[in-house]
């Protein structure tokens, strides 16, 4: 039960890392989905995570967002918060937003209503019942809808959007949630080349105010992000560094790039 009030804007100067994973292990029926994984994301960073299928990317996201509890290891947010103690709703309210691999928006609500639901604020039942939108909040919603390029679709049902537009709407919903850390799972999946590049630009734009972790398959997209890259393999980190460095690593080529 925590309605942690977030400090908006940027992080305190003393903060060492936004997200810190150390020695995290999780196994399902003996299969180690995550094996001694360590990761350190500093405040304001844009990090890309790549890895073949089954490398443990989704499980890692599940662990960070409280959907899955690790068997062992440390998961810390903003240095001091032990994320393994919280569930999804707590963690969302602590300031971690997650975008799913498959675009999940509320299809039977309009674009505007989707963003309204995601808008930062108290999440209690009573507040929701008595909620009245302030003009400030309405402006914020309009602003975000404009940012993700869905101005013309404001009053359309989210279910009527194209695949790419749903992805953007979901990113928009993440932004109004006001998280410090954004976890974005395969945002470019199923997009046209043009949309992919626009999405990369959008994420870089978002990165100005937020720490962003992106999981992706698409190499062109990773290139466009132009960020530090972590390669996952069999539940652990195989390599880390700039894309040019990582892609020269023979182990990486063997398990992933070279295929």
């Amino acid at each position: 039960m925590s309605a942690v009030v977030k400090s908006p804007g940027f992080h305190s100067a003393e903060m060492q890392s936004m997200l810190y994973l150390n020695g995290v292990t999780k196994s399902f029926d003996g299969f180690k989905a995550i094996n001694n994984l360590s990761l350190d994301i500093y405040p304001g960073e844009l990090r890309a995570i790549i890895g073949p299928n089954g490398a443990g990317k989704s499980t890692m996201m599940d662990i960070i967002t409280g959907k899955t509890r690790p068997d062992s290891g440390e998961v810390r947010f903003r240095d001091s918060i032990d994320l393994t103690q919280y569930d999804e709703a707590d963690i969302a309210n602590l300031g971690i937003g997650r975008k799913f691999q498959k675009p999940t928006v509320i299809e039977t609500l309009t674009v505007w209503e989707n963003v309204e639901l995601a808008l930062a604020g108290t999440r209690s039942v009573l507040r929701a019942l008595l909620h009245k939108l302030s003009s400030e909040q309405a402006d914020k919603i309009d602003e975000v809808i404009k940012l993700v390029g869905l101005k013309a679709k404001t009053n359309d049902l989210a279910g009527s959007l194209s695949h790419g537009q749903k992805q953007w709407l979901e990113i928009g919903m993440l932004i109004v949630q006001g998280p410090e850390l954004l976890l974005v799972d395969e945002p470019a999946a199923g997009m046209t080349d043009h949309e992919t590049m626009e999405t990369a630009a959008l994420l870089k734009e978002i990165n100005k105010d937020h720490t962003v972790v992106v999981v992706e398959h698409d190499m062109d997209f990773i290139k466009a992000l132009d960020s530090k890259v972590t390669v996952l393999h069999e539940g652990g980190v195989l390599a880390e560094g700039r894309l040019e460095v990582v892609s020269a690593n023979p182990r990486v080529i063997e398990v992933y790039l070279g295929r």
């Binding site: 399902f28 029926d29 299969f31 989905a33 989704s58 499980t59 599940d62 959907k67």
Partner: protein, 550 residues
């Protein structure tokens, strides 16, 4: 069971053989009808009590076929002789006098006036003798079951005059159960003696048996009168009886537990049968089939129809009904899958509603065709009776068979799924539909077949239920919730889980019943499952892993 009959016949033959030898030492066997007539008619002529006593012993010791009947009639005062020709007859009262028949050859002599016959008189001394020889005759009967019944009678009315007869019977008795009862009967008699040694021996003899009469007599020895003195004055006897009693009670408790466990397992087997079809349709395919209960109902009605078709072969009707019910319910299942369910894959709640509609239609259909009244389905003879293990534990055959039957069904199913090609295809489709499709498996066909299989097994369960409960249109409804509980408790998609859940719920139910009563026990089990689901939302043996999470 047939085999049992053969054994007992064989056994009786051996006993008979022994009996003849023993008798040879006592009395000359009677060769002809004339001899037997001679012997019997002496009953008319002898008058003194001591002569009659000898004669009774002579008849009892003979190999006359009608000896038991004659002596019983004599004891009951139904033995008369005609005044005219002094012929020995059985007499039954009749409005016009007596209806008589000849003792010697059983010839019916019609009704005669009450003045035409005279009773063979007996007195109390003779009654005692008669009781003794009759008891002996009974405990030496050719039929083991009769001997057992006679021995039990002796336990209930222990009298010193039987002692010698029991001793003689024990010497030639080879059936363990009869022997045990004879021992108990003897101990019961000895317990009444005034010699401490005999009484202590008698109490020792009870040790290891589970006879309820023995236990109550031992318990009575611990009672006190209103002044606080023990009714049993002999302290040594009392203490020894207390020791034996507690040992007997301990054993009885263990057997009671075993019996409860057996009841529980048989209930569990019924649950298993009703749930295992659901474990296929719900567990493997993810389809909520609310008409599952009606598939069982169809199986039960199939049994009924089969018995109508072959009324003279009830013993075999069940054997025919099993495959027939499988086919009937299976085909109906396939029709439901093709007609309705395949349009609703991925929409479990809608499937639930649509199949509920189907269940209503099937119920009404049965009501219209067979009338709303319950139908009686007869049980084949080999299902009745029970296997008596000892005084405290007997297992009825229908329960025993249902346990075996449910296990066979489960094993066949596991074999079908794990070892056959069809099973392989079924598993392939449920695990990765798209991949299975691209490998050339006709997924639609496999779906229909899987659903048909689950429904067919429900039909087989219906055959079993027809032997346990009323066959009526509502038969399915009373089991549907239980079967869902079993599948959910065991963990969806896991046949072993279903097995384990069915058995443990069955046993739990039966162990709760003595304390809480049947209804409350059921409520407890339901509440337990509701709470259990909170703790493990996916059941006891849920598949773990990422794939099943969301």
């Amino acid at each position: 069971m047939k085999l049992n009959h053969i054994f007992s016949a064989l056994f009786s033959f051996l006993v008979l053989f022994q009996l003849q030898i023993v008798q040879a030492e006592q009395i000359t066997p009677l060769e002809s009808e004339a001899d037997s007539a001679l012997l019997l008619n002496q009953l008319v002529s002898v008058k003194s009590t001591s002569d009659k006593k000898d004669l009774i012993n002579l008849i009892a010791g003979s190999n006359l076929p009608q000896r038991t009947r004659v002596l019983t009639a004599m004891q009951d005062g139904d033995l008369y002789y005609t005044k005219a020709d002094e012929q020995l007859v059985y007499a039954k009262t009749h409005p016009d006098g007596y209806e008589i028949s000849a003792v010697v050859n059983g010839e019916d002599l019609g009704v005669v006036g009450s003045r035409k016959v005279r009773k063979i008189s007996i007195n109390n001394e003779l009654r005692t003798v008669l009781r003794g020889v009759l008891a002996e005759l009974a405990i030496r009967s050719e039929d083991a079951a009769e001997r057992l019944a006679a021995a039990k009678d002796l336990i209930r009315s222990p009298a010193p005059e039987f002692l010698a007869a029991i001793e003689r019977a024990k010497a030639i008795e080879s059936n363990d159960k009869v022997l045990e009862s004879l021992n108990i009967a003897m101990a019961m008699i000895n317990l009444k003696s005034d010699q401490q040694v005999l009484r202590l021996e008698a109490i020792e003899a009870f040790r290891g048996t589970l006879d309820s009469d023995a236990m109550s007599i031992l318990a009575a020895m611990q009672l006190k009168d209103s002044d606080g003195n023990y009714l049993e004055k002999d302290e040594l006897v009392r203490e020894s009886s207390a020791a034996v009693l507690s040992e007997m009670r301990g054993q009885a408790k263990i057997y009671k537990l075993l019996e409860n466990a057996f009841f529980g397992l048989s209930l569990g087997s019924v649950l298993l049968l009703t749930a295992v079809g659901l474990a296929i349709t719900f567990g493997v395919m993810g389809v909520i089939n609310m008409a599952h209960g009606e598939m069982m109902m169809l199986g039960a009605y199939t049994t009924y129809v089969i018995q109508l078709i072959m009324p003279n072969y009830i013993d075999y009707s069940i054997i025919v009904a099993i495959p027939a019910a499988f086919i009937v319910s299976g085909l109906v299942g396939i029709v439901i899958e093709r007609g309705i369910i395949r349009h609703l894959y991925g929409r479990p709640l809608e499937t639930l509603l649509a199949t509920f509609g189907v269940s209503l239609i099937l119920q009404q259909a049965v009501r219209s065709i067979f009338s709303p009244l319950n139908k009686s389905v007869s049980a084949p003879s080999w299902l009745s009776g029970s296997w008596e293990i000892n005084g405290a534990l007997s297992l009825t055959y229908n329960r025993l068979y249902i346990i075996i039957f449910s296990l066979i069904v489960l094993l066949l199913l596991v074999f079908l799924l794990k070892k056959t090609f069809v099973g392989l295809q079924m598993r392939a489709v449920t695990q990765n539909r798209a991949m299975a499709n691209s490998m050339g498996i006709r997924t639609g066909w496999v779906d229909a077949l899987t659903f048909g299989l689950g429904s067919g097994i429900a039909g087989i369960a219906g055959v079993a239920l027809s032997q346990l409960t009323n066959v009526g249109p509502n038969l399915g409804q009373s089991y549907i919730i239980d079967s869902f509980m079993v599948v959910v408790f065991g963990g969806v998609g896991n046949l072993f889980g279903t097995f384990f859940a069915a058995m443990s719920l069955g046993v739990a139910n039966k162990f709760l019943e003595p304390f809480a009563g049947a209804v409350l026990a059921k409520i407890f089990v339901l509440v337990f499952i509701i709470l259990f689901i909170q703790w493990r939302p996916r059941g006891l043996f849920a598949l773990k892993g990422r794939s099943v999470e969301d």
